[in-house]
Symmetry: C2
Subunit: 380 residues, 2 copies
């Protein structure tokens, strides 16, 4: 073959059809299965959105009741899993624990089923739910606290905060946690979602596929940007210093964390929503939580960029770290919370991949040495 074009990073390659997520980068619109993210965040629970992603349509009252019930029944951790978390090496990152725990959970279902073509991942919701419980329990153990049994009457987000803190969160806190989970649940073929589909394409189990996606999300080029936004906020220190800090950073061509997005040419619609949540939460907590600093950074960047004819706006990571921090969540949990939300999207993609599967198997362009003679060990 004369021309072997290398599609580095698979950039521009359309790897599959999908019915799950529509992103209109020019208009700044995001839809899950045809529904605008603004509507879903405003009106739905995380369980309802998970149903939407897995079934392709919103549930009616009876369907939602049944589905939520199934998810809630899966909240508590088995004794063996609690012990596994307790014994997991102390310096492990919770993403390592999550990846390990999900493969572990795989063994608690009849895995033969998972290999069959007719397997329906929708029957194995407990992995979706248990990520939240594993994380909360990890954090408590690491901080010398005990396991908190799940509450069945709380939303998924509120129950996570409850299992983390050991006390019921304010209703607004629970709602905000829910909305954050909804906002991060799905976003097309990012690296972790594509990893999930890739592994699913070998007919591996959905647990193993999700475990692999977690490994992918752990990478610093994928998850973790909101943690670094908060480091930026801390290094700025006060609102008054934000303009000077940002102008200097721009002059020095340093990357402003949480600004700019490959797809969105306007403000990421999720950033707009999270900014609203941060506003509400700051009012409840009677502290800014970095909102004033973030707004000032945004203002300076947008101004300067527009002056240069460029368009760079906040993305989903810009305000989310500040929300989590005001909710009292340890930064080490920021990326794992991304996994706890995105797992719904991963599962939807795994199911979609299975329907019309073809094993992903790209080619490599060999650029290594031509064959040479073997040299025995004693002559090297």
């Amino acid at each position: 073959m004369a021309e072997q074009v290398v599609a580095k990073g698979l950039e521009g390659i359309v790897a599959a059809e999908s019915r799950i997520c529509k992103i209109d980068g020019m208009a700044g619109k995001l839809y899950y299965c045809g529904y605008a993210i603004e509507d879903l965040t405003e009106h739905c629970t995380f369980e309802e959105v998970t149903y939407l992603l897995l079934h392709g349509n919103l549930p009616n009252v009876a369907q939602l009741e049944d589905f939520s019930g199934k998810m809630r029944k899966s909240r508590d951790l088995a004794g063996l899993v609690i012990e596994m978390i307790r014994q997991f090496p102390g310096r492990a990152h919770p993403m390592e624990l999550l990846q390990s725990a999900i493969s572990y959970l795989s063994s608690s279902v009849r895995h033969k089923i998972q290999h069959s073509d007719t397997c329906d991942c929708r029957t194995t919701l407990h992995q979706v739910v248990q990520i939240a419980s594993v994380l909360a329990t990890f954090w408590r153990f690491r901080n010398g606290l005990g396991y908190v049994p799940a509450r069945m009457d709380l939303s998924h987000g509120a129950n996570f905060l409850y299992m983390l803190r050991g006390e019921e969160p304010e209703p607004l806190e629970g709602e905000i946690m829910e909305k954050c989970l909804i906002l991060h649940a799905e976003h097309g073929f990012n690296a972790s979602t594509f990893t999930a589909r890739m592994v699913a394409s070998t007919k591996s189990t959905c647990y193993c596929s999700i475990s692999s996606a977690i490994g992918s999300l752990y990478g610093s080029l994928h998850g973790g940007a909101n943690e670094r936004v908060m480091e930026m906020v801390d290094s700025v220190g006060a609102k008054e210093d934000a303009r000077a800090w940002t102008e200097k950073a721009l002059v020095e061509k340093r990357k402003i964390m949480g600004m700019g997005h490959r797809v969105y040419k306007v403000k990421d619609p999720r950033a707009t929503i999270i900014e609203g949540l941060l506003n509400d939460l700051a009012a409840l907590k009677k502290e800014s939580g970095g909102l004033n600093i973030l707004k000032e950074i945004e203002k300076v960047v947008v101004e300067k960029m527009e002056a240069d004819g460029k368009q760079i706006y906040p993305n989903v990571d810009f305000f989310s770290g500040a929300v989590y921090r005001l909710l009292g969540i340890d930064p080490i949990l920021f990326t794992p919370i991304f996994a706890m939300s995105r797992v719904s999207g991963w599962l939807a993609h795994i199911m979609e991949q299975r329907v019309d599967n073809r094993l992903f198997r790209p080619k490599a362009l060999y650029v290594g040495p031509e064959p040479f003679e073997f040299i025995p060990l004693d002559q090297r």
Copy 2:
């Protein structure tokens, strides 16, 4: 964009350059870093081949001694890992255990290092080595036996058999195990290797990348074919019945396991080598181990196919299950042994990916519903 061609399964897409593996499908030749698989199997140890894959050149005596020493020192399992294996749910597949255990091991190194650009996976060989120890220990625990501490004087393959059986294997058995590991160590961008590169492209740790690759190899479209070859051998029963069985299977257009390969248009060079190993082992064990049945199936298939102008020959999976069975290895370990070998190739690809990295992020072609109005829950 007018034309959005979907590259289903990424077929025909060249996803990256690589210096590791050259496959000449027409000539039936396979090279690791320029060295023919026949030479490597004949003259090298698995440790030596691992060095080759990770460094791009064969070691001299001093380098090999240092490298082997490092690998051997990593053989024994830490107490916590032994406990984890002991407590892993009994009905789990060992691939689930492996995926979980490798993420677990990740936490035993300083993971910050793993994220840095300068991280050298070659310093973390213990994950390569420990897969063998985890597997042997898993099998012993499942069979009511105890942990066998590693032997430092044996080759990697012989030590695996030793830790599995609790007694030293015959020298020829150890050599054959080594050669099987060498033969499976690398084969370009198969699904698991590409999964490893994909996860590495997010700058995740090499442990998490390998854990993800294990999830991918677990899929029934990827690992596991040699296990099904042996089911075929068992259902044939005797050499005398092999011709009739095969002819019937061909008439009924049933798939003959272990025959045919996407890339090789002639006999897979690895199949030729493994056939020789099976021959030697059968002589040692004074039993055919299915070799006579396999040779008869091969003969009939090749004959019939060539008569139809088609070329279908044995691939690497055709004889390997019979070798493992004669080595007394439980079929549940066949796919995990593939992982135990391929991990060297995965690590080589992870390192190569890191050198000139671009995050893998293909596109999806949206074919779902156009945006519609939100319908409140009580109106659905």
